[in-house]
Amino acid sequence: MTENTMSMELEKQDVESPTTVERTRPRRTFVPRVDIYETDDQVVLLADMPGVTENSIDITLEKNILTVRGEVELSIPDEYELAYAEYYIGDYERTFALSDEVDRTKIEASIKNGVLRLVLPKDDAAKTRKIAVRAEA
Protein backbone atom coordinates (compact mmCIF):
# COMPACT_ATOMS: atom_id res chain seq x y z
CA MET A 1 0.00 0.00 0.00
CA THR A 2 1.43 3.35 -0.93
CA GLU A 3 1.69 6.33 1.38
CA ASN A 4 -0.82 8.18 -0.72
CA THR A 5 -3.66 5.72 -0.38
CA MET A 6 -2.99 5.41 3.32
CA SER A 7 -3.51 9.07 3.99
CA MET A 8 -6.60 8.97 1.80
CA GLU A 9 -8.03 6.24 3.90
CA LEU A 10 -7.54 8.17 7.09
CA GLU A 11 -10.18 10.60 6.01
CA LYS A 12 -13.80 9.72 6.30
CA GLN A 13 -15.46 8.66 3.10
CA ASP A 14 -18.94 9.81 2.17
CA VAL A 15 -21.45 7.14 1.28
CA GLU A 16 -22.18 7.16 -2.40
CA SER A 17 -25.90 6.86 -2.34
CA PRO A 18 -27.72 5.05 -5.12
CA THR A 19 -30.11 7.41 -6.85
CA THR A 20 -33.11 5.41 -5.74
CA VAL A 21 -32.43 6.04 -2.05
CA GLU A 22 -33.31 9.40 -0.52
CA ARG A 23 -32.02 10.25 2.89
CA THR A 24 -34.38 11.61 5.51
CA ARG A 25 -31.78 12.83 7.99
CA PRO A 26 -30.02 16.10 7.32
CA ARG A 27 -26.69 14.58 8.24
CA ARG A 28 -23.70 13.43 6.28
CA THR A 29 -23.24 9.72 6.12
CA PHE A 30 -19.87 8.01 6.07
CA VAL A 31 -18.58 4.58 5.22
CA PRO A 32 -17.10 3.02 8.35
CA ARG A 33 -13.67 1.47 7.97
CA VAL A 34 -13.77 -2.27 8.55
CA ASP A 35 -11.60 -5.28 9.21
CA ILE A 36 -13.00 -8.61 8.06
CA TYR A 37 -11.30 -11.86 8.84
CA GLU A 38 -12.24 -15.45 8.44
CA THR A 39 -11.40 -18.44 10.57
CA ASP A 40 -12.33 -22.09 10.10
CA ASP A 41 -15.77 -21.69 11.64
CA GLN A 42 -16.67 -18.02 11.45
CA VAL A 43 -16.28 -14.69 9.73
CA VAL A 44 -15.67 -11.67 11.98
CA LEU A 45 -16.36 -8.09 10.92
CA LEU A 46 -15.16 -5.09 12.90
CA ALA A 47 -16.33 -1.59 11.97
CA ASP A 48 -15.10 1.72 13.37
CA MET A 49 -18.21 3.71 14.24
CA PRO A 50 -17.23 6.25 16.88
CA GLY A 51 -20.22 7.86 18.59
CA VAL A 52 -22.59 5.00 17.83
CA THR A 53 -24.22 3.14 20.74
CA GLU A 54 -26.09 -0.14 20.95
CA ASN A 55 -29.32 1.91 20.77
CA SER A 56 -28.42 3.93 17.72
CA ILE A 57 -27.26 1.06 15.56
CA ASP A 58 -29.43 -0.77 13.10
CA ILE A 59 -28.38 -3.99 11.41
CA THR A 60 -30.60 -5.54 8.78
CA LEU A 61 -30.26 -8.65 6.70
CA GLU A 62 -32.22 -8.96 3.51
CA LYS A 63 -31.51 -12.01 1.41
CA ASN A 64 -27.73 -11.98 1.41
CA ILE A 65 -27.28 -8.23 1.88
CA LEU A 66 -26.27 -7.16 5.36
CA THR A 67 -26.67 -3.44 6.04
CA VAL A 68 -25.17 -1.67 9.01
CA ARG A 69 -26.39 1.80 9.91
CA GLY A 70 -25.35 3.87 12.90
CA GLU A 71 -26.60 7.24 13.99
CA VAL A 72 -24.42 9.71 15.83
CA GLU A 73 -25.71 12.44 18.11
CA LEU A 74 -23.79 15.56 18.99
CA SER A 75 -22.96 15.94 22.65
CA ILE A 76 -21.54 19.46 22.74
CA PRO A 77 -23.33 22.08 24.85
CA ASP A 78 -25.27 24.70 22.91
CA GLU A 79 -23.17 27.63 24.04
CA TYR A 80 -20.07 26.15 22.39
CA GLU A 81 -19.34 26.74 18.77
CA LEU A 82 -17.12 24.79 16.43
CA ALA A 83 -13.92 26.75 15.96
CA TYR A 84 -11.58 24.22 14.41
CA ALA A 85 -12.48 21.08 12.52
CA GLU A 86 -10.50 18.17 11.15
CA TYR A 87 -13.38 15.76 10.90
CA TYR A 88 -17.07 15.85 10.18
CA ILE A 89 -19.61 14.28 12.45
CA GLY A 90 -22.14 12.11 10.71
CA ASP A 91 -23.90 8.80 10.55
CA TYR A 92 -22.42 5.59 9.23
CA GLU A 93 -23.69 3.16 6.66
CA ARG A 94 -22.22 0.23 4.81
CA THR A 95 -23.56 -2.86 3.13
CA PHE A 96 -21.96 -6.27 2.80
CA ALA A 97 -22.81 -9.25 0.66
CA LEU A 98 -22.76 -12.43 2.71
CA SER A 99 -21.56 -15.67 1.27
CA ASP A 100 -23.82 -18.70 1.42
CA GLU A 101 -21.63 -20.21 4.11
CA VAL A 102 -22.91 -17.89 6.81
CA ASP A 103 -25.57 -19.23 9.13
CA ARG A 104 -28.04 -16.36 9.03
CA THR A 105 -29.78 -17.36 12.24
CA LYS A 106 -26.68 -17.16 14.40
CA ILE A 107 -25.24 -13.73 13.61
CA GLU A 108 -24.13 -11.94 16.75
CA ALA A 109 -23.44 -8.22 17.10
CA SER A 110 -21.87 -6.20 19.90
CA ILE A 111 -20.46 -2.71 20.17
CA LYS A 112 -17.70 -1.42 22.44
CA ASN A 113 -15.75 1.82 22.44
CA GLY A 114 -17.23 2.76 19.09
CA VAL A 115 -16.32 -0.49 17.34
CA LEU A 116 -19.03 -2.80 16.05
CA ARG A 117 -18.18 -6.48 16.15
CA LEU A 118 -20.23 -8.84 14.02
CA VAL A 119 -19.63 -12.55 14.33
CA LEU A 120 -20.97 -14.53 11.38
CA PRO A 121 -20.73 -18.25 12.10
CA LYS A 122 -20.47 -20.60 9.17
CA ASP A 123 -23.23 -23.16 9.03
CA ASP A 124 -22.44 -26.79 9.61
CA ALA A 125 -23.04 -27.66 5.98
CA ALA A 126 -20.36 -25.19 4.98
CA LYS A 127 -17.98 -26.67 7.48
CA THR A 128 -18.49 -30.22 6.29
CA ARG A 129 -18.31 -29.18 2.66
CA LYS A 130 -14.61 -28.84 3.04
CA ILE A 131 -12.80 -31.88 1.88
CA ALA A 132 -9.48 -32.56 3.41
CA VAL A 133 -6.85 -33.63 0.97
CA ARG A 134 -4.16 -35.86 2.25
CA ALA A 135 -0.87 -36.42 0.66
CA GLU A 136 -0.39 -40.03 -0.25
CA ALA A 137 2.64 -41.74 0.89
Binding site: R33, D35, V52, A83, I89, G114
Partner: protein, 172 residues
Amino acid sequence: MGGPKSPTKYEDEWEVTTMMWRNLYGNGNRRRPGWPGYMLREMRRMQEEMDHLLGGTTGQRTTRFPAMNAWTGADGVVVTAEIPGINPDDIEITVVGETLTVSGRRPDLELPEEARYHRRERGTGEFSRTLELPFRVDAESVSAHFRNGVLEIALPRLAEEMPKKIAVKSAE
Protein backbone atom coordinates in the same frame (compact mmCIF):
# COMPACT_ATOMS: atom_id res chain seq x y z
CA MET B 1 0.53 60.96 21.60
CA GLY B 2 -1.40 61.50 18.40
CA GLY B 3 -5.11 61.19 17.79
CA PRO B 4 -6.89 57.84 17.59
CA LYS B 5 -5.97 55.80 14.54
CA SER B 6 -8.69 54.97 12.12
CA PRO B 7 -9.25 51.20 11.94
CA THR B 8 -9.71 51.48 8.17
CA LYS B 9 -6.01 52.12 7.97
CA TYR B 10 -5.43 48.53 8.82
CA GLU B 11 -6.33 46.52 5.79
CA ASP B 12 -5.68 43.25 7.47
CA GLU B 13 -8.59 42.16 9.59
CA TRP B 14 -6.22 40.35 11.86
CA GLU B 15 -4.26 43.45 12.67
CA VAL B 16 -7.44 45.29 13.54
CA THR B 17 -8.47 42.57 15.92
CA THR B 18 -5.08 42.47 17.56
CA MET B 19 -5.28 46.22 17.96
CA MET B 20 -8.78 46.03 19.41
CA TRP B 21 -7.63 43.34 21.76
CA ARG B 22 -4.70 45.44 22.92
CA ASN B 23 -6.96 48.42 23.42
CA LEU B 24 -9.28 46.33 25.51
CA TYR B 25 -6.85 44.31 27.54
CA GLY B 26 -3.62 46.29 27.29
CA ASN B 27 -0.29 45.57 25.71
CA GLY B 28 0.75 43.53 28.70
CA ASN B 29 -1.41 40.75 27.33
CA ARG B 30 1.03 39.11 25.00
CA ARG B 31 -1.38 36.38 24.05
CA ARG B 32 -3.22 36.40 20.80
CA PRO B 33 -6.89 37.18 20.87
CA GLY B 34 -8.94 34.14 21.65
CA TRP B 35 -12.06 35.05 19.79
CA PRO B 36 -13.71 32.00 18.33
CA GLY B 37 -13.70 33.31 14.79
CA TYR B 38 -10.01 33.96 14.84
CA MET B 39 -9.22 30.86 16.75
CA LEU B 40 -10.07 28.74 13.77
CA ARG B 41 -7.55 30.54 11.62
CA GLU B 42 -4.89 30.59 14.28
CA MET B 43 -5.21 26.94 15.16
CA ARG B 44 -5.15 25.92 11.53
CA ARG B 45 -2.11 28.04 10.90
CA MET B 46 -0.27 26.54 13.86
CA GLN B 47 -1.28 23.05 12.79
CA GLU B 48 0.01 23.68 9.29
CA GLU B 49 3.26 24.96 10.72
CA MET B 50 3.59 21.85 12.81
CA ASP B 51 2.81 19.60 9.84
CA HIS B 52 5.35 21.47 7.82
CA LEU B 53 7.97 20.97 10.49
CA LEU B 54 7.20 17.29 10.89
CA GLY B 55 6.77 16.56 7.21
CA GLY B 56 9.57 18.81 6.08
CA THR B 57 12.24 16.18 6.36
CA THR B 58 10.44 13.45 4.44
CA GLY B 59 8.47 15.66 2.10
CA GLN B 60 5.43 13.53 2.72
CA ARG B 61 2.08 14.53 4.03
CA THR B 62 1.89 13.63 7.67
CA THR B 63 -0.94 11.37 8.68
CA ARG B 64 -2.94 12.79 11.50
CA PHE B 65 -4.61 10.42 13.85
CA PRO B 66 -6.88 11.00 15.58
CA ALA B 67 -8.60 13.84 13.78
CA MET B 68 -9.58 16.57 16.23
CA ASN B 69 -12.27 19.19 16.47
CA ALA B 70 -12.25 22.16 18.83
CA TRP B 71 -15.30 23.91 20.23
CA THR B 72 -14.98 27.26 21.93
CA GLY B 73 -17.10 28.71 24.69
CA ALA B 74 -16.92 31.65 27.06
CA ASP B 75 -14.63 29.96 29.58
CA GLY B 76 -12.56 27.61 27.51
CA VAL B 77 -12.40 25.08 24.76
CA VAL B 78 -13.65 21.54 24.28
CA VAL B 79 -11.54 19.28 22.07
CA THR B 80 -13.06 16.14 20.63
CA ALA B 81 -11.38 13.23 18.85
CA GLU B 82 -12.64 9.98 17.40
CA ILE B 83 -10.51 7.09 18.66
CA PRO B 84 -12.57 3.94 18.17
CA GLY B 85 -11.39 0.65 19.56
CA ILE B 86 -9.16 1.95 22.30
CA ASN B 87 -9.48 1.39 26.01
CA PRO B 88 -9.90 4.73 27.85
CA ASP B 89 -7.08 3.71 30.20
CA ASP B 90 -4.71 3.59 27.24
CA ILE B 91 -5.19 7.24 26.29
CA GLU B 92 -2.67 9.67 27.69
CA ILE B 93 -3.52 13.36 27.85
CA THR B 94 -1.02 16.02 28.85
CA VAL B 95 -1.45 19.77 29.05
CA VAL B 96 1.49 22.14 29.35
CA GLY B 97 0.70 25.84 29.08
CA GLU B 98 -1.27 26.11 25.88
CA THR B 99 -0.16 22.78 24.40
CA LEU B 100 -2.42 19.75 24.47
CA THR B 101 -1.03 16.32 23.65
CA VAL B 102 -3.12 13.19 23.18
CA SER B 103 -1.32 9.92 22.67
CA GLY B 104 -2.00 6.22 22.91
CA ARG B 105 -1.96 2.97 21.07
CA ARG B 106 -4.62 1.16 19.11
CA PRO B 107 -3.92 -2.52 19.69
CA ASP B 108 -3.52 -5.05 16.91
CA LEU B 109 -6.16 -7.73 16.69
CA GLU B 110 -5.24 -11.03 18.24
CA LEU B 111 -6.26 -13.54 15.65
CA PRO B 112 -6.20 -17.31 15.69
CA GLU B 113 -3.41 -18.74 13.62
CA GLU B 114 -5.60 -19.98 10.78
CA ALA B 115 -7.40 -16.65 10.37
CA ARG B 116 -6.99 -14.69 7.18
CA TYR B 117 -7.99 -11.13 6.41
CA HIS B 118 -10.50 -10.22 3.74
CA ARG B 119 -10.28 -6.56 4.50
CA ARG B 120 -8.00 -4.56 6.70
CA GLU B 121 -8.89 -0.88 6.73
CA ARG B 122 -8.75 -0.01 10.41
CA GLY B 123 -5.56 1.51 11.66
CA THR B 124 -3.49 0.20 14.54
CA GLY B 125 -0.38 1.26 16.38
CA GLU B 126 0.85 4.23 18.30
CA PHE B 127 -0.42 7.73 17.77
CA SER B 128 0.30 11.14 19.19
CA ARG B 129 -1.31 14.45 18.40
CA THR B 130 -0.39 17.90 19.62
CA LEU B 131 -2.69 20.87 19.44
CA GLU B 132 -1.70 24.43 20.22
CA LEU B 133 -4.49 26.34 21.91
CA PRO B 134 -4.83 30.12 21.65
CA PHE B 135 -4.66 30.56 25.42
CA ARG B 136 -3.09 28.99 28.46
CA VAL B 137 -5.10 26.28 30.13
CA ASP B 138 -5.85 25.68 33.78
CA ALA B 139 -4.22 22.25 33.76
CA GLU B 140 -5.66 21.33 37.17
CA SER B 141 -9.24 21.64 35.95
CA VAL B 142 -8.94 19.77 32.67
CA SER B 143 -11.43 16.94 32.43
CA ALA B 144 -11.78 14.20 29.86
CA HIS B 145 -14.52 11.73 28.99
CA PHE B 146 -14.42 8.80 26.64
CA ARG B 147 -17.75 7.56 25.36
CA ASN B 148 -18.38 5.18 22.48
CA GLY B 149 -14.99 5.80 20.95
CA VAL B 150 -15.20 9.58 21.16
CA LEU B 151 -12.81 11.45 23.41
CA GLU B 152 -13.97 14.78 24.80
CA ILE B 153 -11.53 17.01 26.67
CA ALA B 154 -12.74 20.15 28.42
CA LEU B 155 -9.95 22.72 28.82
CA PRO B 156 -10.86 25.75 30.93
CA ARG B 157 -8.97 28.91 30.25
CA LEU B 158 -6.58 30.04 32.97
CA ALA B 159 -8.53 32.45 35.21
CA GLU B 160 -5.90 35.17 35.00
CA GLU B 161 -6.21 35.14 31.21
CA MET B 162 -9.97 35.46 31.13
CA PRO B 163 -11.21 38.58 29.37
CA LYS B 164 -12.42 41.07 31.93
CA LYS B 165 -15.59 43.02 31.60
CA ILE B 166 -15.07 46.73 31.77
CA ALA B 167 -17.87 48.75 33.26
CA VAL B 168 -18.58 52.05 31.56
CA LYS B 169 -19.29 54.87 33.94
CA SER B 170 -21.31 57.86 32.88
CA ALA B 171 -19.50 61.20 32.91
CA GLU B 172 -22.20 62.93 35.00
